[in-house]
């Protein structure tokens, strides 16, 4: 269709001259990785905690955790992101709200994105942790209590470590999802990979080169995470369970 291909555009200097378009793209990749990893760490911590709460004998705590999951699962990620970024700073106590608004703009975008992705993914991690704990034979909990462990000890030393080894495969797909979902954060102006791709289109008018490069970088990220998690799966596999333990 008469498109003028020009791959050299990636190595050309940006208007301000201090770097190349490729470097912009790689800084976007770096942002995507930093954002995804920090949000993932948060999701694992919060998700495990809520997952445990969903299985405790106390009915009110279990209901609270179930409600938590419903809230984060039934509102679109984009809407959640806008609420964290635009709405929450207004509703916080004035001291905190202005504190947030006085931060560096990139820090504001990163913080909102991380908290948003972290909580969104934590609801999914929570469901996996719950499924893992509920898939364990009841005897494990009873044996732990019979040995004189308290309930928190039984969770900490017996149920949770065991559940985590069983749920590595579904967690892998959530981990992959967080990288893909991080592209949503381009909508609030965070210059991660997808946003850099769009910025390149605006500056160079070479949309295909830019989008192909960004897409390949996402595929590469996906492959790296998958290979890494395969190693984790191998090490975490519990003897006596078939394959992944599903």
């Amino acid at each position: 269709m008469g498109y003028h291909w020009d791959w050299a555009v990636l190595f050309r200097a940006v208007p301000t001259g201090e770097t190349t378009y490729l470097a912009w793209m790689l800084s976007g990749l770096q942002m995507t990785v930093m954002l995804s990893l920090s949000a993932w760490a948060m999701a694992l911590v919060v998700g495990s905690l809520m997952g445990v709460l969903r299985t405790v004998p106390n009915r009110w705590l279990a209901r609270l955790a179930a409600g938590y999951v419903e809230v984060f699962r039934n509102i679109p990620l984009l809407v959640q992101l806008f609420i964290w970024y635009f709405v929450l700073p207004e509703l916080l106590p004035p001291a905190l709200g202005t504190g947030f608004k006085q931060m560096h703009p990139v820090a504001q975008q990163f913080l909102a994105s991380m908290v948003c992705l972290g909580f969104f993914t934590s609801a999914r991690v929570c469901e996996q942790v719950r499924a893992g704990i509920q898939s364990l034979p009841r005897g494990q909990m009873h044996a732990a209590l019979a040995l004189g462990l308290t309930l928190p000890q039984a969770y900490r030393h017996v149920l949770v470590p065991m559940a985590f080894r069983l749920i590595v495969p579904p967690l892998t797909s959530e981990f992959l999802n967080i990288f893909k979902n991080s592209a949503v954060c381009s909508t609030i102006g965070l210059l991660e990979l997808a946003a850099q791709g769009r910025q390149l289109v605006d500056y160079t008018a070479q949309p295909y080169e830019s989008f192909i490069a960004v897409t390949l970088l996402y595929l590469m990220l996906n492959a790296i995470v998958m290979l890494g998690m395969r190693q984790v799966e191998k090490r975490a596999r519990v003897p006596g369970y078939i394959g992944s333990g599903k």
Binding site: V79, Q80, F86, V87, K180, A183, S186, A194, T215
Partner: protein
């Protein structure tokens, strides 16, 4: 404390409803095309004919590895140029809705293909053997025996995916198309009432999606009973 002022919502309801219709249209088209094309992909993948199986596997894995935002950006880039070149459409024509529908339909097919593949594999092998023993061809066995049972088993999953899809349609925001969320954002931006409109949009999505997933849960109980 923040001073809430919800007064700009009632007047904007017709505009928001127009947006909601766009969200629902995209969802409906993507679900129908996604299930049809997804079923074909699943059948290809299970067909045992290697070029078809490789194509289907490649398609599914490619779409499942790329962020939806990126897929949409691709479609907003390609579809208008394609339509100008092939259909001779004027460059000024608004093709964003068509682009969004195509993007979502082709993207979701990959996810539907995986659900349907699992559904087909969940039908006991004896059923296929019995169909063959009765003299049915492959096509007849699939159409009359396997697929009806598979679809019955996976109906809850297909509907759950439709709810996720409905939520994801908000991402057409990247093309400034005024779906329900886009409309809410525009009204909020215009009236300086972003806080109220965003909370309102979140509440509407929550009520709709929570209600729908509750209905799916009840259906699941009836199907499995």
């Amino acid at each position: 404390m923040y001073d809430f002022d919800w007064s700009s919502i009632p007047g904007a309801l017709p505009f928001l409803w127009e947006g909601m219709k766009i969200s629902l249209e995209i969802t409906l088209v993507a679900v129908i095309v996604g299930i049809l094309w997804g079923t074909l992909l699943a059948l290809m993948r299970l067909s045992g004919i290697s070029p078809l199986a490789y194509f289907a596997a490649g398609y599914v894995n490619l779409f499942r590895s790329i962020p939806l935002v990126m897929v949409l950006l691709w479609f907003f880039l390609i579809v208008p140029q394609f339509m100008q070149a092939v259909l001779g459409l004027a460059p000024t024509a608004d093709t964003r809705l068509v682009s969004a529908m195509m993007g979502f339909a082709l993207f979701e097919s990959a996810y539907y293909a995986e659900i349907i593949r699992a559904g087909i594999q969940s039908v006991p092998k004896g059923q296929v053997a019995a169909a063959y023993a009765l003299g049915m061809t492959y096509g007849q066995a699939m159409r009359l025996v396997v697929l009806p049972q598979a679809f019955r088993n996976m109906l809850p999953l297909l509907l759950t995916q439709a709810i996720i899809l409905f939520q994801d349609t908000s991402l057409v925001y990247v093309s400034a198309l005024a779906d329900f969320f886009g409309a809410a954002y525009k009204v909020g931006d215009r009236d300086g009432r972003l806080v109220e409109l965003l909370l309102f949009a979140g509440a509407v999505y929550f009520v709709l999606c929570y209600g729908a997933s509750y209905a799916v849960k009840r259906l699941q109980r009836r199907v499995s009973a």
